[in-house]
């Protein structure tokens, strides 16, 4: 019971902190002091206090977009184990529910973008669904390999027991899957090299332009969902690389927090070093991620 409450508190409060950490790290890499760690929370509170401004011609679907994405993202976060804390809801096959909950959020975001009747949002929506078509098979291939290794179909055991259940010969496959998942994580969160979260040049945005016309409380929901998505997709990798058998619960929590910080650092590092890849090449990068996960799967199946 206490564990469940702590789980809920973590997934509600931590995501904007994570975003603040990434921003602080990127700033320190270039020698700036950067914004305060809690800046995203200050921004969210400020946005929530503003009035709602809707575009001319938009309907209730415009509001349903952010509402559905945050609800589905919170429920997806309830399905994940966080360090030593087991997931709130767990059953065989919950990784499929996880992927489809993310899809539900994406559907309503795209439909809300098309509601505005503006070509910018249409462009963002079209790009969003195009890249998700290539990201989905990769995630499923990676999770299937973990299912084969651990012999279980629930996320808690797939992510927790992999390091314990695998033999040394399977290590390269797991490394390939981790790499593939990392690339897909960057794609799903629209980070460099897929999209620059700081740009607002209309023709180069992907996700940012799909939510361009949201403002005030709706924008707060959208930004919060972004940060929660980062935490959720990073936990997939962080939980995977922790050796659950060797550590106790408290050490697992600490290790998980450390892994999330390391992943956030990697994201920040990549954002500071690399530039965004040409839009026409992005499907190739995603196909590379699919091939990485697929090769891992085939090696494990042997």
């Amino acid at each position: 019971m206490i564990g469940a409450i702590i789980h809920v508190i973590v997934i509600v409060t931590v995501p904007p902190l994570l975003l603040g950490l990434i921003n602080k790290f990127e700033a320190s890499l270039v020698g700036r002091r950067g914004p305060v760690l809690l800046q995203p929370w200050h921004d969210l509170v400020k946005l929530l206090r503003k009035e709602v401004v809707l575009g001319k011609g938009t309907t209730w679907i415009f509001i349903a977009g952010p509402v559905a994405s945050i609800a589905s993202m919170w429920l997806a976060a309830c399905l994940l184990p966080l360090g030593g804390m087991p997931p709130l809801i767990s059953f065989e096959g919950d990784f499929i529910l996880f992927a489809y909950l993310l899809g539900l959020g994406r559907f309503f975001t795209v439909v809300a973008a098309l509601d505005t009747g503006s070509s910018f949002e249409g462009m963002g929506a079209a790009r969003d669904v195009r890249f998700s078509c290539l990201a989905e098979p990769g995630i499923f291939l990676g999770l299937l390999s973990l299912a084969k290794v651990t012999g279980s179909l629930s996320l808690a055991r797939m992510l927790g027991d992999t390091l314990g259940a695998m033999t040394f010969a399977l290590a390269p496959s797991v490394v390939m899957i981790v790499l593939g998942h990392f690339i897909i994580m960057l794609a799903e969160n629209f980070r460099i090299p897929f999209d620059d979260p700081k740009t607002h040049l209309e023709l180069t945005m992907i996700h940012e332009v799909a939510v361009l016309d949201h403002s005030g409380p709706l924008l707060a929901l959208v930004q919060y969902t972004q940060s929660l998505r980062l935490l959720v997709t990073a936990s997939l990798i962080a939980q995977l690389v922790l050796p659950a058998q060797l550590l106790g619960a408290a050490l697992l929590n600490a290790g998980f927090a450390a892994m999330i910080l390391i992943l956030a650092g990697c994201v920040g590092l990549i954002e500071s070093i690399l530039a965004r890849i040409k839009m026409a090449r992005l499907p190739h990068v995603l196909t590379a991620a699919i091939l990485l996960c697929g090769s891992g799967f085939i090696l494990i199946m042997r």
Binding site: E51, V52, V53, L54, G55, K56, G57, T58, T59, I63, A64, V67, I70, A71, S72, W74, L75, S90, F91, E92, G93, D94, I96, L97, A99, Y100, L101, L104, F107, V111, A113, L114, D115, G117, S118, S119, F120, G122, M123, A125, A126, R127, V129, R130, C133, L134, E136, P137, F140, L141, L144, K148, G151, L153, D213, G216, L218, P283, G294, M301
Partner: protein
């Protein structure tokens, strides 16, 4: 008692159309036949529901003296397919009261008669226990559906679509005749029950399986036998398209399931073939769907995708039978059958919605619509429910059946055939493409601003069109939450499908319905809570311009169209879909108007089937030499025929003895 109810239901539905002949061209005839059909549906429910939940199969004699007595009856599998038949019959006739009223359409009496006959022939076909009764129901279904598809005789495309449907269906029926006759030769009976089991490991059984796939496959519409589907669905009236997609396609699936259930020792290759067909149909079906501009053609190609998903489940069930694995069998069969029901529910909802749009605006072209949510709010809401359901998104019913199929494929990891799990990423990609497709349809048709003047006269659909849509939408939500009520029925059908494998209680209870219901309920509650939290501010919301990058005069033509939304995905699949894009040149400082065209064609029809038929036509022109219209030639042919017949009557052996004896 059950059988009496069933016969009453079939009889009433057959007669429901004839009632309208007494008061043609009036609303009364529409309402009368709808009432009769609803009554028939109630009787049908009374017959099917008990059969679904009780153990026994009931069989009775169907009088056919020349065939030596045939039989028809109802068991759990028949009842499972019978329920959608009657639901569709009732809702479709209510829908057609407003969509195809007798006062506006000259051929409404014919449509109603054929609708009633179609429903009863579907019921007969599903309850048949003898090959002759089955084929009677099958042919009646094909012919009545043909007359329904033609609809309004005036459109040339409608005639072509219905003719392609008729020829394709009869090619399939030919394969079915061959299948039943071969079966009779090897098992000695025409029965479709356990009395005539066939061993699947014989080579002749492989040929029969091929015939089954061909015959039922043309009707089910999986790739590459799908070529008749898009045109027939697009040009038929919408309630007929709904019927085709929701029920007639499923009769192909029913046939395959029944044919497999009366075969023992199924080799693994059969299951793998069905799996491969399912994977190809689902991926290519949705790739074709995304390239379409016509709402109903898009929905038709989506039916192909969903048939692919059904086949994936069926393939896993067949593999479960071959590997003697009750978990695979149960999960695969549950996925297949629940998806049959779920597809019936949300596809008919979507076709009813598309029909409402067509009725209101007069066009099926997505790129001429837009902003319909303001004129037709309820239709848009129901269409949204259908779109979310068909993408397989929680908390609606599409997710449950897709989860069953996913779990079936994932459970194969523990068996020696683990590489079968490679179908899971294919299904995942299909799901993502379906999401792209339906967000495109809903967004372009209902949202944004109108792209042409056709939207000006749009009005909300009338209540008789809204009631079936609302019923289907409620059914989507109900099945999303309470599919667990029907799991015992699946267990019974598994016993019929695989008589030698016993599915224990532990497996049928193993599907995680309770956590899923919890998650779905939490989802709805969270959405409501956050929505209510925003409600106060939203009611006071200010309206302002949408961002236009500083351009002073944005207009509706600047919105993303369906073609532009789907363009990059269509480019990925251009090799398979054969769609062509031509973009006009814009050159110079004062360019002339240019046009961009995006054409989606049907490659199997245009490149394989029609050229094949043309070659057949050329090859058979030599027959023309015998048919020149000269009467003397025909008399000569009769004379030759008579001489040949006489020649067979000559007692050759006696003649030979006479000649040999005289030597």
């Amino acid at each position: 008692m059950t059988l009496t109810l069933l016969v009453t239901a079939l009889g009433l539905s057959a007669l429901s159309g004839f009632v309208g002949l007494f008061a043609p061209r009036t609303r009364l005839s529409d309402i009368l036949s709808a009432i009769l059909m609803v009554t028939a549906a109630c009787f049908g429910f009374g017959a099917a529901l008990p059969a679904l939940f009780t153990e026994t199969a009931l069989v009775t004699a169907f009088p056919w003296p020349q065939a030596g007595g045939t039989s028809f009856g109802i068991d759990a599998l028949s009842a499972f397919f019978l329920l959608p038949v009657f639901v569709m019959g009732a809702l479709g006739s209510i829908y057609s009261c407003a969509y195809w009223p007798a006062s506006k359409h000259r051929n409404a009496p014919r449509m109603r008669i054929c609708w009633g006959l179609l429903i009863s022939s579907l019921g007969l076909l599903v309850c048949a226990r003898h090959a002759f009764v089955f084929l009677l129901g099958w042919e009646a279904m094909v012919l009545t559906a043909f007359f329904l598809i033609v609809g309004d005789d005036n459109s040339q495309q409608g005639r072509r679509g219905s003719l392609v449907y008729l020829v394709a269906s009869h090619c399939g029926t030919l394969a079915l005749f061959a299948f039943f006759i071969l079966r009779m030769n090897f098992t000695g009976s025409f029965d479709l029950s356990e009395a005539s089991m066939l061993d699947g490991s014989l080579p002749i059984a492989g040929i029969m399986f091929g015939l089954v796939l061909m015959g039922f496959g043309i009707k089910a519409g999986f790739m590459p036998l799908h070529f008749w589907l898009p045109e027939a669905h697009a040009y038929a009236p919408s309630h007929v398209s709904a019927m085709l997609s929701a029920l007639v396609l499923k009769m192909g699936i029913y046939g395959i399931v029944r044919a497999i259930s009366i075969t023992t020792h199924i080799p693994q290759t059969w299951g793998l073939v069905v799996l491969a067909l399912g994977a190809a149909s689902s991926l290519l079906g949705v790739a074709f769907a995304i390239a379409q501009h016509d709402i109903k053609k898009l929905l038709a190609y989506h039916s192909i995708e969903n048939i692919g998903i059904i086949l994936l489940g069926l393939g896993m069930a067949m593999l479960g039978r071959s590997l003697n694995n009750p978990l695979l069998l149960f999960l695969g069969l549950a996925g297949c059958l629940f998806h049959v029901w779920n597809h019936f529910v949300f596809k008919s909802l979507l076709f009813f919605g598309a029909g409402a749009v067509l009725h209101a605006t007069g066009t099926r072209e997505m790129d001429r619509l837009g902003g319909l949510v303001k004129a037709m709010p309820l239709t848009a809401l129901f269409f949204l429910v259908g779109a979310v359901a068909i993408c397989g998104l929680p908390p609606l019913n599409g997710f449950i059946s897709e989860l069953f199929v996913f779990l079936a494929m994932a459970s194969s990891l523990k068996t020696p055939l683990g590489l079968v799990a490679l179908a899971i990423p294919v299904l995942a990609m299909t799901g993502a493409l379906a999401l792209a497709c339906f967000s495109k349809v809903f967004g372009v048709v209902f949202l944004g601003s109108p792209r042409s003047r056709l939207v000006d006269k749009a009005h909300e659909a009338s209540p008789s069109m809204l009631v079936p849509m609302a019923a289907m939408a409620l059914l989507c939500v109900f099945l999303g939450f309470f599919t667990s009520l029907f799991v015992p029925a699946i267990a019974r059908i598994a016993a019929i499908f695989a008589t030698d494998i016993d599915v224990p209680q532990s497996i049928t209870q193993s599907f995680p319905f309770v956590p899923l219901q919890l998650v779905f309920a939490l989802l709805l509650v969270l959405c409501c809570v956050i929505g209510i939290g925003l409600l106060a501010k939203t009611l006071r919301a200010r309206r302002s311009m949408v961002w236009d990058c500083g351009y002073e005069v944005p207009n509706a033509r600047m919105q993303y169209t369906a073609a532009s939304f789907a363009r990059s995905i269509v480019n990925m699949f251009r090799f398979f879909t054969g769609s062509q894009e031509s973009v006009g040149k814009i050159e110079g400082h004062f360019p002339l108007p240019a046009e961009a065209h995006d054409k989606a064609s049907e490659p199997v029809l245009d490149r394989l089937v029609l050229p094949g038929f043309r070659i057949l036509e050329k090859a058979s022109t030599f027959v023309k030499r015998f048919q020149k219209g000269v009467t003397q030639n025909y008399i000569l042919y009769i004379l030759i025929g008579l001489l040949c017949l006489f020649a067979t009557l000559v007692p050759y052996d006696q003649l030979w003895k006479l000649l040999a004896g005289s030597q």
